[in-house]
């Protein structure tokens, strides 16, 4: 059974995150030549060199809050953290210690249907939406993305204090779905 048929979970490694909000938060991103998603509740690749499937992303949460995740040395995040330490006017740091993971595979929609009432299958991925919703009682941020091998995946972030619960429940669901597909 391929990853295309099953559902799978993975935890990202070696990522740095930072959040910022305030009336001048978008300007702070622009000053560092980082992308600024134009529409609320959408995401962009962090820089021009990052592609649509990149792990380096900036999400616009509502009108004036942003969340950035970057892999490796994360120069964008490092620069943003330094800028935030200088306390620019109208820009405030948002501590992001999220528990993060990725749900993918052909049966990912089936797993999501058991924990969340958002119709992810109907979302236009090309519009790069980010969804703030509840999953089995936990507030989550979900970023649907086109992945290289499996077509689609969902990057999910939540409050770290809920991480063990949310991941554990999803792991059980994914295991049952995969077992069902294998029969």
């Amino acid at each position: 059974m391929s990853r295309r048929d099953a559902a799978w979970l993975a935890e990202p490694v070696a990522v740095k995150r930072v959040g910022l909000k305030g009336p001048r938060a978008g300007a702070a991103l622009a000053r560092l030549e980082l992308a600024v998603p134009q529409q609320p509740n959408t995401w962009s690749p962090l820089t021009d060199s990052d592609g649509a499937g990149s792990a380096n992303v900036v999400c616009r949460l509502g009108a004036s809050e942003f969340f950035v995740e970057e892999r490796g040395d994360a120069p964008g995040v490092v620069a943003l953290e330094a800028l935030l330490r200088s306390r620019p006017a109208g820009t405030y740091p948002v501590l992001r210690e999220d528990f993060a993971f990725v749900l993918g595979g052909g049966s990912a929609d089936e797993a999501l249907a058991q924990v969340c009432n958002v119709n992810f299958a109907a979302l236009p991925f090309e519009a790069r939406p980010v969804v703030m919703t509840l999953m089995i009682g936990v507030g989550v941020l979900v970023l649907p993305q086109v992945s290289d091998d499996d077509g689609r995946c969902f990057r999910i972030w939540c409050d770290p204090s809920y991480g063990a619960y949310l991941f554990g429940e999803l792991e059980e669901i994914v295991t049952r779905i995969s077992a069902g597909r294998a029969q």
């Binding site: 306390r87 058991q114 770290p160 619960y165 429940e169």
Partner: protein, 940 residues
């Protein structure tokens, strides 16, 4: 007696696979594809159950998943629906509601007492001391099935589904609606409660067109078909609960087509409940799906065309129909194709006659002769099929907000006004002839798809139809009674007439007094006849009687489907692993897993907690307080905003200091508390109670949506961990680890600093909740674990848990919001007046507090102590002059003081230190206590 016929085209059974099962400890065989009831019917078992009240023998009535008398206990599972549950090899089934088995049920003797058990008898009898005993007895006799605690548990997930058009019912109308909607480009979900789609197609006369419909639906890429699935309830915005065999699906549809059809209604005459008396459509289902004949000598009672079609269908399959008894006075049915069978007209059913074993063996009727005179005859038969009328299966449609009205010509309630996105099709819509039904359903499907896809739907008007499908009132009372209107609840005609006589003469009142329609079928086969009887008794037309609306669920839903997988959100701090290592005993508080205390060898719980308290008092203890709410408030207006939100003053707070923060509601009631620390001119760091963070954060956002001040909020509760190092040795232990001066002069009580502990950036607040000297250390979630280990590296530090913390703060006389306060407590009553700055221009609750100040307190929170050990607990009442004078809010044995101390709300006149109060313990004993000043422990 029922029996199996030779193969019938389209039958649902597999004659090559025989299944063995037991019913009432007798062995039987059935076929794969049978349901429990059909297998029993094919085996000639007529009696399947005992009725609810009188324990009369009962059999199949509708075979449409409505019958309360087709519920079985199967392999430990109660109330299994025999009509639709597939037979399984090795199944062991038994009737419910019997004592000593179905055949010899001891409770059948209750029928002899029927005259003493009229409807509502329990409202009038057994008053006084005997009531409780009689109530238990009645409940025992009235049970349905038995729960077995050791039965295997079954996991039932829930899931969400989405579609453009949901079609409920996969008979001819449902299939047509689904096809049209799908052809129009909608994603369609089609559901039917039966094991296969098709509904009445086999006997509708549209087999050719019907087969094409089925094929098209089965292969259409836009249609998903769910069988053995029923819609249990309709909720707002086209949200429908579907009950599948192993899960509940919650469907959000763009539009819904109700193609739920009609429910055939029984005629009401004496002994109409005998096994072998069933509806015509039950016979058709048995015949076409399971190749079962309803009997060897069948009599049909009818008042519509359907009865004649039924007779033809039976004769075609070789079943002998001995009598066709039309209730209508004149020839109105189509007698073609009936051979030698001549229908009688103007028939009045008198009573069904039981044979040995309790099943019907004859039917007594009054025939109308050509002279117009009536002649009583007894007709030998072993099955009586009733085809006298229908009621619409409109329960879900009504839940969706449709209105219905009664049409005299067709004798049917029909939909009048439907909300947007809701469509009715086929027989439910009053269209009966099959070709017209299908056309009507195609139109409904088109309209539903248009609505769901954002176009303007166009729904044709209902085609005119004046054929009456129902007898106006198929109710024939008998002087000896036993004419059952509601077979679930054993309600007879006289019971309803008695209800009216007692003054319960509206459908709602009659229902509640008589329990009509309150059984498992929820009135599907009784409400209409009940309304007819009520209308007749009141001298009104049926159109003037509003039928009761059935609420969800359409069928009873197993509790396991409602429970689902059982998700229980739980939060863990970043120190969870550390606590496990230290052998924490866990508790759940405010949704968080927290250490209640830490186990120490074989020491009992109380001693472990006492040791932890002593460790803090004598040296230093460390507790994980990551659960506290933590909110950053940024912006030029941050101080001014907090001045408005909280009862105290914060705009004048110096940078590097903190202040107790008391949050009130507009009634001046204490809602939450914490500490607000000023870290910069435009940055405050505010803590809340465990479990209060989400509400406080929400309130900050809501109030600022009104005030529009220049301020931003960040709820960092889960993203930061926090520890509290407390005790006289805490400074000396912490100083070497941090890069700031902790001396009293430099870092006074209520100071707040940003610092580094090792390489970790931390926020340190000097607090005094549990001891005079203590430091709350806040860090990022990922760093908290390292901090804990670093501080615990000293042997002088002892971890302590929630229970020790409760005792420690009690010794300091500190109140806990929502434990020592309630929904009526203002700050003056709780001793928190020090945190209120009434002189501010405005704060939430200020106006109410002025009123509270003028009125004076009704209660006062005081400290008390007991002279001796006692069983005083929280919430025990204070009694004074024979009346309640207050309650204990907190109580504990203080290891530091060696006696029991507590906090209590009491009358102001008893609040002075030295006052005596009396506490009533659980056993009623009065325990004397003494009011004392707090804190109980001063410098510690």
């Amino acid at each position: 007696m029922m029996y199996r016929l030779p193969p019938v085209e389209g039958e649902w059974i597999d004659r090559t696979r025989e299944l063995r099962f037991e019913f009432e400890r007798r062995a039987f065989t059935g076929l794969a594809g049978d349901t429990i009831s059909s297998a029993l019917a094919a085996s000639g078992v007529m009696m399947l159950a005992r009725s609810f009240k009188y324990h009369r023998p009962r059999g199949i009535l509708s075979f449409a998943n409505h019958d309360a008398n087709n519920l079985f206990q199967v392999d430990g599972v109660p109330n299994v629906r025999g009509d639709v549950t597939p037979l399984a090899d090795g199944m062991r089934a038994a009737a419910v509601n019997t004592f000593g088995g179905l055949a010899r049920d001891r409770a059948r003797r209750l029928e002899w007492l029927a005259r003493f058990l009229p409807v509502g008898f329990y409202y009038k009898a057994f008053h006084g001391r005997g009531f409780a005993r009689w109530e238990r007895r009645i409940r025992y006799l009235s049970g349905l099935g038995r729960i077995q605690a050791r039965a295997d548990s079954q996991r039932t997930d829930k899931q969400y589904r989405f579609c453009d058009v949901l079609v409920i019912g996969a008979g001819p109308s449902g299939l047509a609606a689904a096809q049209s909607a799908a052809d129009a480009g909608a994603r369609v979900l089609l559901v039917d409660e039966n094991a296969r789609p098709g509904g009445s197609l086999p006997w509708s006369g549209a087999t050719g067109a019907g087969s094409q419909l089925l094929d098209r639906v089965n292969t259409h890429p836009n249609i998903e078909l769910l069988c053995a699935t029923y819609a249990a309830g309709y909720y707002a915005d086209h949200w429908v609960a579907l009950i599948e065999p192993a899960r509940m699906s919650k469907v959000r549809a763009g539009a819904v087509v109700f193609a739920t059809g009609l429910i055939e209604q029984p005629a009401v005459f004496r002994n109409n409940d005998l096994p072998g008396v069933l509806t015509g459509s039950a016979a058709l289902r048995l015949l076409h799906r399971y190749a079962i004949a309803p009997g060897k000598r069948v009599a049909i009672l009818t008042a519509n065309r359907e009865g004649y079609e039924l007779a033809r269908a039976l004769k075609e399959k070789g079943v002998e129909v001995v009598e066709l008894l039309d209730l209508r006075p004149e020839a109105a049915g189509d007698a073609a194709g009936l051979g030698t069978l001549r229908p009688h007209h103007g028939v009045v059913p008198v009573e069904a006659v039981a044979g040995r074993g309790g099943a019907v063996r004859a039917l007594r009727v009054d025939l109308t002769l050509e002279t117009g005179a009536a002649r009583a005859v007894t007709l030998d038969c072993d099955a009586v099929l009733m085809s006298v009328g229908f009621a619409p299966a409109s329960q879900l449609l009504l839940q969706a907000g449709a209105t219905m009205s009664f049409h005299v010509a067709s004798q049917q309630h029909l939909p009048d006004v439907l909300p947007p996105g809701v469509f009715a099709a086929g027989r439910l819509n009053g269209v009966h002839d099959v070709a017209a039904r299908i056309a009507d359903a195609h139109d409904a499907g088109d309209a539903a798809a248009a609505h769901a896809l954002g176009q303007v739907p166009s729904r044709s008007a209902r085609p005119p139809g004046t054929r009456s499908i129902s007898h106006a009132i198929p109710v024939f009372p008998h002087e000896k009674g036993r004419e059952f209107v509601d077979l679930d609840e054993d309600i007879q005609v006289k019971d309803l007439l008695a209800s009216v006589q007692e003054g319960y003469d509206s459908p709602e009142l009659m229902k509640r007094f008589s329990t009509l329609g309150m059984g498992p079928s929820q009135g599907k086969q009784s409400n209409l006849n009940g309304a007819r009887i009520l209308a007749q008794a009141r001298g009104k037309p049926l159109a003037d009687i509003t039928l009761t609306t059935q609420r969800p669920f359409y069928h009873p839903v197993p509790l396991k489907h409602l429970a689902g997988a059982g998700f229980h959100p739980e939060r863990r701090s970043g120190l969870h692993a550390a606590h496990v290592e230290l052998e924490a005993e866990w508790m759940t508080l405010g949704g968080w897993r927290r250490p209640e205390y830490y186990r120490r060898g074989e020491l009992p719980r109380a001693e472990c907690i006492a040791e932890e308290v002593r460790a803090v008092r004598s040296g230093a203890g460390l507790i994980d307080v990551s659960t506290l709410g933590k909110i950053d408030v940024f912006g030029p207006d941050a101080g001014a905003f907090l001045d408005r939100m909280y009862a105290g003053s914060f705009s004048d707070l110096r940078i590097g200091m903190s202040r107790y923060a008391l949050l009130l509601d507009e009634a001046g009631i204490v809602r939450d508390d914490g500490v607000a620390a000023r870290l910069a001119e435009d940055h405050f760091y505010v803590t809340t109670t465990t479990g209060g963070a989400a509400n406080v954060y929400r309130d900050l956002l809501l109030w600022n949506a009104r005030w529009r001040m220049n301020v931003s909020f960040v709820n960092a509760t889960g993203h930061r961990g926090a520890l509290n190092l407390a005790g006289p040795a805490s400074r000396e232990l912490l100083q070497p680890l941090v890069d700031i001066d902790l001396s009293a002069g430099t870092f006074p009580y209520l100071g707040a600093r940003e610092a580094r502990l090792g390489d970790i950036p931390v926020r340190i607040l000097r607090v005094g909740f549990v001891s005079s000297l203590g430091y709350e250390i806040h860090a990022r979630y990922q760093d908290a674990g390292w901090l804990w280990k670093r501080i615990m590296g000293s042997e002088k530090v002892r971890p302590f848990g929630v229970e020790a913390q409760r005792v420690l703060r009690l010794e300091k006389g500190h109140a806990i919001v929502a434990q020592d306060t309630d929904n009526l407590t203002n700050p003056f009553e709780a001793g928190l007046g020090f945190a209120v700055r009434m002189g501010k221009p405005f704060f939430i609750g200020q106006r109410s507090l002025r009123i509270h100040e003028k009125r004076g307190s009704r209660q006062q929170l005081v400290g008390f102590e007991l002279d001796s050990e006692s069983p005083v607990r929280e919430s025990h009442l204070l009694i004074q002059d024979g009346a309640i004078a207050g309650r204990v809010t907190s109580v504990a044995r203080s290891p530091t003081l060696g006696r029991t101390i507590g906090l209590a709300m009491t009358r102001p006149e008893s609040a002075a230190p030295g006052s005596s109060i009396a506490i009533r313990a659980s056993d009623g004993a009065m325990v004397p206590a003494r009011v004392v000043r707090t804190p109980f422990v001063e410098a510690a």
